[in-house]
């Protein structure tokens, strides 16, 4: 076996080791890049992939995994992890206004819950440092009272303990080192974050390099009780268990922003209990199922009849066939966009051909009809092809025996061929149903789910199927509700998954192990 020689022994070993060394080097570089940017989950994934690679390709007993590993890694990272993430997000209130973590939400609430005091107290400020920490000399404009502010507290300075500078503002004091002009100019980023507490929820906050104001923290957060209090309005806000702080006395008054909170799978229950969610969902669901069902029947009917018509003894059979499978060969997104153009009201060839002026996509029923028609165009060649295959698989003896018994060709077709075909093709019919159940491109590129009845406040369009509805729910322009979208995704997965498993069990594909 000289031909094999090149693949064994030392050269193969060297090739393998150097290849894995390169992979390792890349992974290690990526690992440090991630830790450097504090992307811990990413770093963990990269580390796991690295360890896995070295283990699988250097251990002796992992032979099958040497073949499976690359595919497995990609599958886990880019398919399984997103699925798990989808499941977890579906249990959260995760939508516009509830996108950040609770800690971030509290921080933002506290920042916005600041108010200047009634007198609008303003200070002239000289920024500097005390004992190496940020500090400021603050001269109140109306009273000329001077304070020394540090990040831990603010003290009143008596006259004589400070000296005024040229413009009548306190400029130096013992232990206080003012910034030079250059340092002040480059301290911009720090100024916004500085606060000099006064006690009682009040503090002095710099507004620019030389002015500060007195601010009152009207919202106060108590981490122990997890309660926010608005001291100015005397209101108490509690975690409402759905990602928002809500007024204890009036539950509908919520503080924004909220956070993404675990909400006990309320996304699922809302689909059935909350009428604003249930209404569109049920409507979309019914149309999805009827569309998928109708379109498969139509495509199969037309394709099957064509298979019979082209079965044998027809002149130009090959020529016809080459033309009739064209829709299957053309990229479907292109065909859908083209059909979209043909039905365009103003410029479309169909209105042009019939000299009509019909607004095809603005009527729910016409739009639904167009969807079925276009999908028929796209799909009948496939059903013609599989029907032809199935017809050829029916033993010729059956037909002969039936015709000897005196059955007419039509009866043979109806009583023998069609039932057998349905049996043979049922797995493909079911998988086609599952495919059309999720036929995003068709709907999105043809009607975009429309026409939408915005006048009656409906969020779902007349031709939206579940998958386009999910897409709009998750990435829509007005409100994005990722949690709800993930819940709908899970329900769809359940429907399509159980359908496919059932059909696979029936077709006995899983028996051959």
């Amino acid at each position: 076996m000289n031909r094999l020689a090149g693949f064994t022994g030392l050269p193969a070993q060297i090739f393998k080791i150097s290849f894995i060394a390169i992979v390792d080097a890349i992974l290690i570089a990526m690992f440090f890049a991630s830790t450097h940017k504090h992307a811990t989950p990413l770093a963990i994934v990269i580390a796991l992939v690295g360890f896995g690679t070295n283990f699988v390709y250097f251990a002796k007993f992992t032979l099958p995994f040497k073949f499976l590993f690359p595919g497995l890694v990609l599958l886990v990272v880019f398919v399984v992890v997103p699925i798990l993430y989808t499941i977890s997000m579906s249990a959260f209130n995760y939508k516009t206004g509830n996108e950040i973590s609770k800690g971030q939400a509290v921080t933002q609430l506290l920042q916005t819950g600041l108010a200047p005091d009634a007198a609008n107290t303003t200070y002239d400020m000289v920024l500097g440092k005390k004992n190496g920490d940020w500090a400021a000399l603050l001269t109140e404009q109306s009273t000329q009272q001077v304070y020394l502010g540090t990040t831990t507290g603010t003290t009143k300075l008596d006259k004589g303990t400070y000296t005024l500078n040229g413009i009548g503002v306190a400029g130096s004091a013992p232990g206080f080192v003012p910034l030079t002009a250059d340092q002040t100019a480059s301290a911009d980023s720090i100024i916004g974050a500085l606060k000099f507490p006064l006690g009682n929820g009040q503090f002095i906050a710099p507004q620019s390099a030389d002015v500060a104001v007195l601010l009152t923290q009207s919202l106060v957060y108590d981490p122990k009780t997890d309660i926010l209090t608005n001291t100015a309005l005397n209101r108490t806000y509690k975690d409402n268990g759905d990602g928002n702080f809500a007024n204890v006395k009036d539950k509908t008054e919520k503080l924004l922003p909220g956070w993404r909170a675990f909400n006990n799978f309320r996304n699922y229950t809302h689909l059935f209990s909350d009428s604003t969610v249930r209404g569109p969902f049920i409507g979309v669901f019914i149309w999805t199922v009827s569309f998928a069902f109708l379109t498969v029947i139509m495509m199969f009917g037309v394709g099957f009849l064509l298979a019979i018509a082209l079965d044998k003894k027809i002149a130009f059979r090959r020529f016809y066939r080459s033309i009739l499978i064209l829709p299957y060969a053309i990229p479907s997104f292109m065909s859908i966009l083209i059909w979209n153009g043909l039905f365009n009201r103003q410029f479309g060839a169909i209105n042009g051909l019939f000299h009509t002026n019909i607004d095809w996509f603005n009527s729910p029923w016409l739009a639904k009809g167009i969807i079925l028609l276009v999908n028929l165009w796209l799909g009948f060649p496939y059903f013609y092809l599989i029907s032809t295959g199935a017809l050829q698989a029916i033993p010729a003896e059956l037909e002969e025996a039936a015709s000897i018994d005196g059955a007419s060709p039509r009866k043979i077709l109806r009583l023998i061929k069609l039932p057998l075909m349905l049996q043979i093709l049922s797995p493909l019919l079911i998988s086609s149903f599952a495919f059309n159940f999720n036929n995003f491109n068709l709907i999105y590129l043809l009607t975009a789910g429309g026409p939408t009845d915005v006048l009656h406040g409906k969020t779902a369009g007349a031709t939206d199927i579940l998958i386009t509805y999910t897409y709009k729910t998750a990435f829509g322009s007005s409100e994005q509700n990722l949690g709800l979208a993930c819940a709908i995704s899970m329900i769809m997965f359940f429907i399509v998954g159980s359908l496919s498993l059932w059909s696979l069990r029936r077709s006995k594909v899983l028996d051959g192990f």
Binding site: F7, F67, P70, Y85, T86, L306, A309, F347, G389, A393
Partner: protein
């Protein structure tokens, strides 16, 4: 013509007209200098290349980049995913190990979960990747390729396993008696034997990627990084009447090579299609 077969001819011709109608309109409007579909007659009156030229002279419509992006990502995906699929299918078909059956079933179930149902999750995930590795994060062709590759094992392993099961084991055994290792059997026996079916799998994967719209449109925001599918959709969607002519030209340029390859390989592609049906 036999009278009994008359309905067949009528039926076939109705379908041929139905099939050819949109194709004809696209070809006609791609050469029609008025650029819109508004012409009331379907008979071509004028002929010009102006729509084709418009695709390559307009910086707002980087059609050349779109084609290059599509071809690049579709070829890379076809090539890599066939290697991944072949290796997995080989392991599942030729080796016996613990978890094999469960693994195959899980693959099937995962495959049923269309990857873009997890769209929201993928989006959030790749947004975070972008902050560390812009080249494989949101908005990059590399990141999109990785996501496509994630699904390749599920699809191709099943598709190819059926075929590999039909290659007789005796060939492997003969090679083994001659002292070949499993890896050698894979590269030197299996790979050449499976080459035709691998080529068809690669082609199908190429067409599938070329056709993919949802992930690409969510992922690729920069106009220069778009694929043909996303680019043309955004382009024609922006101003229908005005852009129809160049759109028709662009869709023809992208489609014709694929259709030629498809028609010349139809015997193999269709063979694979019906195999699944007739086996049941």
């Amino acid at each position: 013509m036999h009278a009994k077969n008359l309905w067949k001819h009528v039926y076939i011709w109705i379908l041929i007209v139905f099939t050819l109608f949109p194709i004809y309109v696209v070809i006609e409007s791609s050469f029609n200098p008025t650029g819109s579909l508004a012409s009331s007659s379907l008979i071509p009156s004028r002929f010009s290349w102006v729509n084709y030229k418009a695709l390559f002279n307009n910086p707002a419509v980087p059609y050349g980049s779109w084609i290059r992006n599509s071809v690049m990502i579709a070829s890379a995906n076809a090539l890599i995913s066939v290697f991944i699929g072949a290796a997995s299918a080989f392991a599942f078909s030729r080796m016996r190990f613990r978890g094999r059956k469960a693994g195959l079933q899980t693959l099937l179930l995962i495959q049923v979960f269309p990857s873009f149902l997890a769209l929201a999750a993928i989006y959030v995930m790749m947004e975070r990747v972008y902050t560390v590795f812009p080249a494989i994060g949101l908005g990059s062709l590399g990141g999109l390729l990785l996501i496509y590759l994630g699904g390749s094992m599920g699809v191709n392993a099943w598709l190819l396993k059926g075929y590999i099961d039909t290659i007789p084991m005796e060939l492997d055994e003969a090679a083994r008696i001659d002292g070949a290792s499993t890896v050698q059997v894979y590269w030197l026996i299996f790979f050449p034997l499976a080459a035709p079916v691998l080529a068809v799998t690669a082609l199908l994967s190429f067409i599938g990627t070329f056709n993919e719209f949802v992930l690409a449109s969510l992922f690729l925001q920069d106009v220069n990084k778009r694929t043909v599918a996303v680019g043309l959709q955004q382009f024609v969607g922006a101003q229908f009447g005005q852009n129809w002519g160049p759109f028709a030209a662009g869709s023809l340029i992208a489609t014709v090579p694929l259709v030629i390859v498809f028609l010349s390989l139809q015997r193999f592609i269709i063979g694979g299609l019906t195999q699944g049906a007739t086996k049941g």
